[in-house]
């Protein structure tokens, strides 16, 4: 991790203005803006189309269908998919699944990250190596033995605990916590330890308040995983009443959609509902996704 990663926003802004001053101001920034606008259009168009499509009464896939047509609008698609899947229950299931993972990662992940960063103990190297291994091995290799383990040996099929278990502590979050705890000056901890404070107190009262932005970033990253996860809950919960929204949506697309009056409309309605919380979160918290936080968290 270079010093530059600790750059504050003020430093960044200063360097930007230096760069900008070097270039023919007018044409440079216009090209930039156009390129960015084009990029934003490409990124946002599917979202826009998703909303438009979900409101269509009859499917309209021509170019004119891209523009909202008041004569062809209805909320019926939302009602239709709600009847088929039960959007409310599915969202609650997603919430419980994601919330459980967030809680466990918050408590145990911070402890582990702190220990890896600031505590010297036997087995620290091993724990770190294991963490890196977890990050490298794809989850899909393990789904089969995990299914046997969790469904049969632990009897946790069709349960929230079974859904949460493999995701309980997000290793990327642990890595981020570790990186940020490592960035704190050592004197802080030496002073506190000399004062006789227990490690837990040091963690909770001194270290944690200082890394709050990192905790928020890590929590946001941890949120994305379970909220959008499809394969594992699909495998472990076959009871419709327990399935999170991503799984219910996938089942709907695969099996039921063909019977709806406007199949794509219903699918898009479900997609809107599934996408809305994630998008709302980044709009609300986007400043915490500042490049420095994530970049250093992953590089180190």
């Amino acid at each position: 991790m270079t010093k530059a990663d600790r750059a504050t926003p003020e430093v960044t802004a200063r360097s930007d203005s230096v760069t900008a001053a070097l270039e023919p101001r007018a044409s440079r920034s216009w090209w930039r803006l156009i390129a960015l606008l084009f990029g934003a259009l490409v990124f946002l168009f599917p979202f826009y189309y998703m909303v438009i499509g979900s409101l269509q009464k009859t499917q309209n896939t021509s170019l004119s269908g891209v523009l909202p047509n008041p004569g062809n609008m209805t909320l019926h698609n939302y009602g239709e998919i709600n009847v088929a899947i039960g959007l409310g229950k599915a969202i609650i299931n997603s919430g419980i699944f994601t919330g459980g993972v967030l809680l466990v990662t918050l408590v145990f992940g911070i402890l582990a990250g702190y220990a890896l960063a600031r505590l010297s103990f036997r087995g620290r190297g091993l724990l770190f190596a294991l963490m890196m291994l977890v990050l490298t091995v794809p989850f899909q290799l393990l789904i089969i033995p995990l299914y046997v383990l969790i469904a049969r040996n632990y009897g946790l099929a069709n349960s929230y605990l079974g859904m949460i278990a493999p995701f309980a502590i997000n290793s990327t979050a642990v890595l981020i916590f570790r990186q940020y705890f490592m960035q704190l000056p050592a004197e802080l901890f030496d002073a506190a330890r000399i004062d006789g404070a227990s490690e837990l107190k040091v963690l909770i009262h001194i270290a944690l308040p200082l890394v709050r932005p990192a905790v928020l970033t890590a929590m946001l990253l941890t949120f994305i995983g379970p909220w959008n996860e499809f394969l594992w809950p699909f495998l472990i919960t076959k009871e419709q009443g327990l399935q999170p929204l991503a799984v219910a949506m996938a089942n709907y697309i695969d099996n039921v959609a063909a019977t709806a009056s406007n199949p794509y409309g219903a699918i898009l309605a479900g997609s809107c509902v599934l996408a809305a919380p994630a998008v709302a979160l980044i709009i609300g918290f986007q400043r915490y996704f500042v490049s420095t936080n994530i970049g250093s968290g992953v590089k180190g």
């Binding site: 530059a4 930039r32 033995p145 046997v148 502590i169 802080l188």
Partner: protein
């Protein structure tokens, strides 16, 4: 992120406290480390890894070396050791070879596109322009949204009567994108590229902070155009992150599951968009051959680790 907490009242030297420790305690500390409570802090995480990662990994290796299939609880069947015959079966299965070929096609499209576009967009974003927050949010939106949700839209766009085909008119491929043997995997590649760009843009943005401004100034004074500045200053300057981006893209490509499963209905036209992980799922869960599936999975992991290892070597050479 700045550290602004005021240091606590500083007591003189740590030697006094150390001297006060008994010999036994010091001995214990040396064996368990200076802060043995770290073991307690790390214990839940260690337990988690042991139970939900290490043990399944071991079981996967075990399954790949035996004749193994799932049985009802309490039913015991012989599970003979078969050595590497599962691996043999994996390598000689034409469907598996097709799947790896598909991943190759995916990577050829995804990786260069990802590196180029995210670097360009990050460079563009890395300036004092208005509405930065808006652009950042729009690039991130696809990344944070569930693939299942975005797949719904893309199924709509890429359907035989969808807007992609309507706009292209006679130029549109027949059969349509996702059921077309030549277009199925490229469609998936383009979708995944689009979806992941936001994250890589962030990575490059971080890296761009570390490129010294003086280099740009020097190049500008030498009269280098924007393009030359990009090639001679930016690209070498973010080399480390480019290798990271490449590695992450390769890992993503190797682990594709949701997109082939949902976009092209499990394998696509004539297996042309199947991915290895999809086959792990199909053979392991749908067809009850977890021995074959585990062998395939382990081959996949070894492949990824090899690529990561090569990347480390290359990085070390460059540094």
């Amino acid at each position: 992120m700045t550290s602004t907490a005021a240091p606590r009242k500083h007591q003189s030297g740590g030697d006094e406290s150390a001297a006060k420790e008994s010999t036994a305690r010091r001995f214990g500390r040396a064996a368990l480390g200076r802060q043995p409570i770290g073991m307690i802090f790390g214990a839940p995480y260690l337990l988690f890894i042991a139970v939900l990662f290490a043990y399944p990994l071991g079981l996967a290796v075990y399954m790949s070396l035996h004749r193994y299939y799932f049985t009802a609880p309490g039913v015991n069947v012989p599970r003979p050791w078969v050595g590497l015959s599962n691996y043999d079966a994996v390598f000689s299965d034409p469907a598996v070879r097709q799947a790896f070929l598909n991943v190759l096609i995916f990577l050829v499209i995804n990786v260069p596109l990802t590196v180029a576009v995210s670097l360009l967009l990050a460079t563009a974003l890395n300036a004092a322009i208005p509405f930065r927050a808006f652009f950042r949010t729009s690039f991130l939106a696809p990344y944070v949204t569930a693939s299942v949700a975005m797949i719904g839209v893309f199924l709509f766009i890429l359907s035989p009567t969808g807007i992609a085909s309507t706009v292209l008119g006679p130029l549109a491929p027949v059969p349509s994108w996702l059921v077309n043997q030549n277009w199925a995997m490229p469609s998936i590649a383009l979708y995944v590229t689009w979806k992941g760009l936001g994250f890589y843009i962030l990575l490059y943005l971080a890296a761009l902070q570390g490129v010294p401004k003086e280099l740009y100034e020097a190049a500008a004074m030498d009269g280098a155009s924007w393009w030359h500045r990009l090639l001679s200053v930016t690209v070498p300057g973010v080399r480390q992150v480019t290798t990271l981006v490449t590695l992450l893209a390769v890992i993503t490509g190797a682990n594709l599951f949701t997109e082939p499963y949902l976009l092209t209905d499990g394998g696509g036209p004539n297996g042309k968009s199947a991915s290895p992980v999809l086959q792990i799922y199909q053979t392991g869960i749908e067809q009850n051959h977890p021995d074959f599936a585990s062998a395939l999975g382990i081959i996949l992991v070894i492949g990824v680790l090899l690529i990561a290892g090569i990347q480390q070597l290359v990085q070390r050479r460059q540094a």
